[in-house]
């Protein structure tokens, strides 16, 4: 009896194997540009929405605001958008790490601004140079993140509670650090101002672009060669070429727009120029390269994804879950400090109450709009940039479009709705992938 059943099941396997003759045990990579595009569409339908919602959202918003206000698409306004996006984007980059573990850091806004206040005190009251102020600020953020992360990872207090407590407590710490009757400190250091307002020379902007594209192509070619050596499927050169071309064209348009001289008549007479890629954009590019490298090319980054995907699997694989969980809060608070410094550059100093309100929620919204999941396990550094730009476009456009008594009320309602919409897209795409 058992004998016949055995042969019966063997037949099922044989049939199955006959139906699936290709024993392809390498990666399945489409070998034509058309095939790549079709595979991309298939992923989209499968719920891997990636950057699409953010890019489409940005384009739609730009068209709407561009039609509604003639000067929205002027180069000076585009520069302003890039600058306005910077603080939110950098904070969102840190939050990506925290969100990857399915955690949240509600304190990043306040902790970031408190760290920036610490940096301002170093610069103004102790006369320290700008780099000491930045390092001191980042160290302040890092230490706070270490404590928060430890409380979450070691004691098992939900991150929501730990960071909400810190959100409240650090508003008090901020007042103590600033310790001024005027509730603020004016920063005079030019470099700290330039974190927000600084511009590269036009030539430097082009050089950064060319170097970036060449490095991208070089890295891809080296990776491709390593795969070929082991006889693995590789991406066709045409697809790589198209990608590089797309980056070069987009980057070229960006640098061109940023390099248009926006100086007014009297400035031009004095020989003052208002042009060049903002420093903040270069800082963001640098952070993108470094953090994306950490997240996708190092063992640490792989383990962050693993803990976010399945803590149990990570633990059994010998990954130190506690250390990973603590570390993401350190990164998040450290980057929040940098974000706070750039905000301080914009505002010309630090004052009590900076970083409260919806600063943090906007950064979370940026990461989620870009495509990072609130439930953990899925996210990219570039998401923070995409979402940060969408939000900057939205804020910049709406503040000019809405006028009258209730303008700020509508602005808040719209911003809140956008966060909700992004979270809804995240949840729905998650369901589609099941």
């Amino acid at each position: 009896m058992t004998g016949t059943e055995t042969t019966a099941t063997r037949d099922v396997v044989a049939e199955h194997e006959a139906a699936n003759p290709a024993a392809n045990v390498t990666a399945l990579i489409p070998q034509t540009p058309g095939g790549s595009f079709r595979a991309y569409l298939r992923n989209l339908r499968g719920g891997e929405t990636g950057s699409v919602p953010a890019v489409v959202g940005a384009l739609i918003l730009m068209v709407i605001f561009g039609v509604a206000q003639g000067n929205f698409l002027s180069s000076s306004n585009l520069v302003a958008i890039v600058q306005q996006a910077a603080p939110t984007t950098i904070m969102a980059m840190g939050l990506v790490f925290v969100l990857l573990l399915g955690e949240i850091d509600l304190s990043a806004g306040v902790v970031g601004s408190t760290a920036a206040a610490f940096g301002a005190v170093l610069s103004v009251k102790h006369g320290m140079p700008w780099y000491v102020a930045i390092l001191g600020s980042a160290a302040f953020g890092g230490v706070v993140g270490l404590v928060l992360g430890w409380l979450r990872a070691k004691l098992g207090i939900p991150s929501f509670v730990v960071t909400l407590s810190a959100f409240i407590a650090f508003q008090g710490v901020q007042i103590l650090v600033i310790n001024s009757k005027s509730n603020g400190i004016q920063v005079s250091d030019q470099t700290l101002h330039d974190l927000y307002f600084g511009r590269l020379s036009p030539a430097a902007g082009w050089i950064v672009l060319v170097v970036s594209v060449l490095l991208y192509v070089l890295v891809k070619l080296v990776q491709s060669a390593a795969r070929k050596r082991r006889k693995l499927a590789v991406e066709p050169v045409a697809v790589l070429g198209l990608r590089a071309l797309a980056i070069a064209v987009f980057g070229g348009v960006f640098v061109y727009l940023m390099n248009i001289d926006q100086s007014v008549a009297w400035q031009r007479r004095e020989g003052i120029h208002q042009r060049g890629v903002p420093w903040s954009a270069v800082i963001i590019l640098g952070l993108l390269v470094v953090l994306a490298f950490v997240l996708t090319k190092t063992r640490y980054g792989r383990h962050v994804f693993a803990v976010g995907g399945s803590e149990e699997a990570a633990r059994r694989a010998g990954i130190r879950v506690l250390a990973i969980r603590t570390s993401v809060f350190v990164l998040c608070s450290g980057l929040a400090a940098l974000s706070g410094l750039i905000l301080a550059g914009q505002l010309g100093g630090v004052s009590t109450g900076d970083g409260t309100g919806n600063t943090l929620l906007l950064a979370v919204a940026a990461a989620v709009i870009g495509g990072t999941s609130l439930m953990g396990g899925r996210g990219r550094i570039v998401d923070a940039i995409l979402g940060g730009v969408v939000l900057a476009i939205l804020q910049n456009g709406i503040s000019d479009l809405l006028q009258g008594n209730n303008a700020s009320a509508y602005e808040l309602i719209i911003e809140g709705s956008v966060l909700l919409l992004a979270a809804a897209v995240d949840s729905m795409s998650r369901r589609a992938r099941r």
């Binding site: 059943e5 390498t26 490298f293 190092t298 063992r299 792989r302 994804f305 693993a306």
Partner: protein, 263 residues
């Protein structure tokens, strides 16, 4: 007959006043599939966790390749080449097959100290090919997109990658359909054919008869019998599981005690 790669003699294990293993003898041979059967509460999981180092044994001898060893934790067991594939698999859904197979043991490029993706993909592909796995389309598929059988395949193929000597599979077919069960059993057979000692925990007698070389039946914390599969039939296994003896096989003293109670 060759020396078994893993031999346990008189293993005892208690949790407080509850004696779960009462002197268990067990052996597993390289190149063979040993089915470990027994009713719920017979001590299968406890025995496996003792082998894997999750539990420390209270008494008895643990011999690996004929030499007594002390296994104090999962790391000790892993160092000997003992790998356990648990029922819940514990794969990270958001990572792909290669990433899961190398989780915690990623290959690094010697010069740059970065992840060597090409190397890992190559080795993962080889491991799958050595088991003639045909059901996986691409090794870069996310695990979330895999079926139950494919997940099991990934978890099992991982043991090939790490040159395991003893592989313990906990109910690998419990949640699978007919075709997938057959695939996984084929895989189990191929693992043994590669020279590993495979220990298969299963409740399914058809699976046991189909794929195993030996059957070890636990009954209330004792080894009722460990015999060649070819010398035993379905009914006898069921009797060993439910009563601890079957004809001349099984626990003698237990049967006597029972008869004594009846008289």
């Amino acid at each position: 007959m060759s020396e078994p790669i893993l031999r346990l003699r008189g293993i005892t294990k208690s949790f407080g006043p509850v004696e779960v293993l009462k002197g268990v003898d067990f052996e597993a041979h390289a190149g063979e599939v040993t089915a470990l059967v027994g009713d719920n509460g017979a001590g299968k999981s406890t025995l496996v966790k003792c082998v894997g180092g999750t539990y420390a044994i209270d008494g008895g001898e643990y011999l690996f390749e004929g030499k007594p060893v002390t296994v104090r934790g999962p790391r000790d067991a892993a160092a000997l080449g003992i790998e356990i594939v648990y029922q819940d698999l514990a794969l990270a859904d958001n990572l792909d097959i290669v990433q899961n197979m190398f989780l915690g043991r990623e290959s690094l490029n010697r010069k740059t100290r970065t992840l060597d993706e090409a190397e890992m993909e190559h080795l993962a592909g080889e491991a799958l090919a050595s088991l003639s796995v045909r059901t996986v389309k691409s090794v870069r598929q996310k695990v979330s997109s895999l079926s139950g059988g494919q997940r099991q395949t990934v978890a099992i193929a991982k043991t090939v990658l790490w040159n395991s000597r003893v592989v313990i599979l906990d109910e690998p077919t419990a949640a699978l359909g007919v075709a997938q069960t057959a695939q996984v059993l084929d895989l189990v057979r191929r693992l043994a054919d590669q020279g590993m000692a495979v220990i298969l925990i299963s409740h399914n007698m058809l699976d046991v008869l189909k794929v195993s070389d030996r059957v070890a039946a636990l009954y209330l914390g004792r080894m009722a019998a460990q015999v060649k599969t070819s010398e035993i039939n379905h009914t006898q296994i069921v009797e060993l599981i439910t009563a601890g003896r079957s004809g001349s096989l099984g626990l003698v003293e237990h049967a006597e005690a029972k008869e004594g109670a009846a008289a």
